[in-house]
Amino acid sequence: MWDWFVQGLHSIEFYAIMPHLQLTLFACFILLADFLVERPYKYFNAICALLGIGFSAFALGRFWVRGDEKLAFNGLIVIDSFFTFFGLLFLLATALVILMSIKYLDLEGEHEGEYYALILFAAVGMLFMAGGTDLVTLFIGLELMALCFYLLAGFLRRDRRSNEAALKYLLLGMFSSGILAYGFSLLYGVSGSTNIQVIAQKVAERGPGDPIVFLAMVAVAAGMFFKVAAVPFHMWAPDVYEGAPTPITAYISVASKAASFAMLLRLFLVPLGPLRPNWETLLAVIALATMTIGNLAALNQDNIKRLLAYSSIGHVGYILLGLVAGNQTGRTGIIVYLFVYTVMTIGAFAVVTGMRRADAIGDRLEDMRGLMSKNPGAALLMLIFLLSLTGIPPTAGFIAKYYIFLALIQAGRYELAVFAALYVVVALYYYFRIVVMMFFSEAREPGRMTLAPGLVATLAIALVLTLAPGIYPEPLINLARLAITPFR
């Protein structure tokens, strides 16, 4: 018995699942310990969660430093640079979201331990999504993440918008999962295996013309498009973004999206890779529609969370274009884009979170009025995040857009490049509606506004990670190139 246990500890399986395990253990601990924590000390849960993330990140960092490339559990999950990069990105996002949640939950009067546990469980799901090499692992990871998000979106029990968001998200999410599962079942039927490498071989044998394979591709694509909120499966995003607690909105908007994209990339590049002639046009149309609807619908939003929701739909279009281009630049560009998108969006949402006061919800455009006089630091940071979201140098957002444009030009997709570039101008208009409110309008009631320490930490990290890669992109580019090596 003891020998078996020790052997287990030294096995590759245990090594590979260490980051997931640590998060799970800490999440369970938080659930138990929460009963003992009195209300004023609920931030203890947050510290526990951050600690868990630290341990997990350490394990992931070890994979990265060692350059591990290993399969575990008979090919159910893989450790490669792609997984490690995304794992660390999820943990970064999770940590930042936890930091910005502490004060917010106090204000909402919903400071419970489950919140942090659910966030950690969602992160575990994401890790499986990025590292899964088997349809079952991928699907379970996706569902684990999605279930946590359904709960988190409705975490403000007494807020009707939050309830609506949760229900909407749950119903539509389940529906899309069903479609995805249908696609998976077809893939299994075609290949007789759930391993994506085996599926890739069988699909390649059948070729792009095969109707069953085509149907499977469409179903998988539809399921994934829902998760990343691409048109025409984007309807849930604005409502969920608006209703969910702001930190969770940030979390759904970045981590869930990054994880879904990690899964989407692995699916489209490995098992569906041979179908490229089929999905290239499909993806191009979807990407174009996504950019169009996202950017145009954002123009007249008066709620910042809805505005950012539509703008994030627009960003999805850009990321998909990297896949359409289909070259090395495009794949590197997706990685760069997802990293940059994560940090700048969290930054923007952190400022919006800071607008939540005891007496104001603070998510309307109006609420940003005169922020420059109330808190110049927050206003300037928001300006930088918005410039980055638009893609103005020297922020990281420009580097991300640069890669997508270059990839499209290298692939000869000039028409897509022109559209993508023109929507930058549209995006500037709606992002700068916020800037106008912050800098040019007088505040309704004068006075200063302070930010909670956790929020300041989030903003500082987001700022550094938004500006540094813009001014000196070399490390980020090398990181992205390394992360994409499994798909060369």
Binding site: L387, A421, V436, F439, R481
Partner: protein, 542 residues
């Protein structure tokens, strides 16, 4: 860290930025201190650019004072600065006008003083960077970065419709910028293909096959690229991408509609910089990039673009004539004057190009000064309505003199700068097509009409409004903003040879690039100096 020819461009670029950072440390309540510090740094920015005048070697055609550091080696972008005769003059124009614009803000800017000066100094760095960058990536960064401070200058410290004007300015320019970005990326990709191992690489003589040379944003490399571009549709589209970006900035008709809004709503210093420097980025871009990189497309479309320029000259002048608002009048006159600059560029010969660049400097000086004049009146009366003024020469004699000289400079009076530039451009245009020159002369006539008519309505006659009776004449500080510009007008007007000498080699190289490797050596050029050309005919110099 001492100032040497090797690092002078760093000094010029960073001095305003250091000033902006330094101002961050000063508490916002100390308005006087902030303004004084900002002026100090702006003046320092001018002082560090002064050695260029002595160190610039006018016997060279290429880039001088170059600085080159690796920046993003994995994509081939580097921190590369350098200037030739063309950018040299524009850099000097920027440092001088930047200082004068900041000096002119002393009394006008009273709220959010700290932010104003910080933003202005950042703008200064951005503009200088555009003229000095020798790397496309870096160039694009400066080109975009500069939009943000200008947006705030118009949007916060502007007049009634400032928000509309600010976002319109930003959107228009960004639209052009992204098109140019795609063009840059296409060139980058194309250049990489030329050097790819195994590609049918013509002997360019600029690089081998190493990865580092394949991927580069170095502008000097791209300038040699012109004759290897295929005559395909996409290459032409890329030409138009660049061209529209620059045309919006200039702005050429029909992209000019942002200009009156932005110029009118901006505070005085903002208008001075907009008219004096920002518009020149468009013409600079055409000279620096459009012509040498796309010689074939430039030659092909030159007649069309020249025609549009002539339309801009005449249409701009006619619209100017009808304005009731002084500032709007000056703003529209820019459309007409910049039409001359683009006409000169797309005459594609030595005279046209040299004249165009000189005219860009001239326009910066005289229109910048005209905006200062309007600003001075606005500070006194808080109106820009021409009908509100009249007979101002009685209470303000010194002001009247300055204004007169600058008006004459702007309308092309011999012995003043505008004449030299426009005359040279007309000579260049005449060499290509007599009609071009003939029609453009109308622009000069109309300029005389609208500027003198404006002067007459504002300055002559009886003082009609009681409020104008006691207007104070220029203070010493206000005089200090105008006198350097007036002196400069005379300098160029009387002794333009210094300027043409600086431009001689770079423009000859440019003409050579446009005409192609097989073309004849650059035309023998006789430069018009004032003594011979005052009574002379165009034929005399041909």
């Amino acid at each position: 860290m001492s100032l040497t020819p090797e690092n002078i461009l760093n000094w010029i670029l960073l001095t305003p930025l250091v000033g902006a950072v330094a101002l961050l440390a000063v508490p916002g309540e100390k308005k006087k201190l902030i303004a004084a510090l900002a002026n100090l740094f702006a003046f320092a920015g001018f002082l560090v650019s002064l050695p260029l005048v002595f160190w610039y070697d006018k016997t060279q055609a290429g880039f001088q004072f170059t600085i080159n550091h690796d920046w993003i080696p994995s994509i081939g972008a580097s921190y590369r600065l350098g200037i030739d005769g063309i950018s040299f003059l524009l850099v000097m124009l920027t440092t001088v006008l930047g200082f004068i614009a900041i000096l002119s803000s002393w009394a006008f800017i009273q709220n959010r003083v700290k932010e104003y000066y910080i933003v202005f100094l950042i703008l200064q760095t951005g503009m200088l960077g555009v003229f000095m960058a020798l790397d496309f990536f870096l160039f694009y960064v400066f080109w975009e970065v500069m939009l943000v401070p200008m947006y705030f200058i118009i949007g916060i410290w502007g007049h009634e419709r400032k928000l509309y004007a600010a976002i319109k300015f930003f959107l228009y320019t960004l639209l052009g910028s992204v098109l140019m970005l795609l063009g840059i990326l296409w060139l980058y990709y194309f250049h990489g293909g030329l050097h790819a191992p195994g590609a049918a690489c013509p002997a360019i003589g600029i690089a081998g096959h190493t990865a580092a040379e394949m991927n580069t944003f170095s502008i000097p490399v791209y300038l040699e690229l012109g004759h290897f571009l295929p005559a395909t549709l996409i290459a032409k589209l890329v030409f138009w991408g660049f061209f529209i970006s620059f045309a919006i900035k200039v702005p050429m008709v029909p992209f000019h509609t942002w200009l009156p809004d932005a110029h009118v709503e901006a505070p005085t210093a903002g208008s001075v910089i907009l008219a004096g420097v920002l518009l020149k980025m468009g013409t600079y871009g055409m000279m620096r990039f459009s012509l040498p990189i796309f010689p074939e497309a430039s030659r092909e479309y030159a007649p069309f673009i020249a025609t549009v320029s002539i339309v801009a000259i005449i249409y701009g002048a006619l619209v100017t004539m009808m304005q009731k608002d002084m500032k709007k009048l000056i703003a529209y006159s820019s459309v007409s004057h910049l039409g001359f600059c683009t006409l000169g560029i797309f005459a594609l010969n030595h005279l046209g190009l040299a004249g165009s660049l000189l005219q860009q400097v001239n326009h910066g000086i005289s229109t910048g000064a005209l905006f200062l004049i309007v600003g001075l009146l606005y500070e006194r009366r808080h109106t820009r309505d021409i009908a509100e003024f009249g007979g101002l020469s009685t209470p303000m004699p010194v002001f009247a003199t300055m204004y007169m000289i600058i008006s004459l400079a702007s309308l092309g009076m011999p012995l003043l700068n505008g004449f030299i530039g426009e005359f040279t451009i007309l000579l260049g245009a005449w060499q290509v097509n007599h009609w071009w020159a003939g029609l453009s002369v109308l622009g000069i006539v109309l300029a005389a009409a609208y500027l003198l008519w404006l002067y007459q309505r504002v300055m002559f006659g009886e003082v009609t409004h009681a409020a104008n009776k006691g207007l104070r004449d220029l203070s010493l500080r206000e005089l200090a903003t105008l006198v350097p510009l007036v002196v400069w007008c005379f300098w160029i007007g009387v002794f333009p040879k210094a300027y043409f000498d600086v431009l001689e080699k770079p423009v000859a190289l440019l003409v050579q690039r446009v005409e192609g490797p097989q073309a004849a050596p650059p035309l023998a050029v006789t430069l018009p100096d004032t003594e011979s050309s005052e009574g002379g005919t165009p034929a005399g110099t041909r």
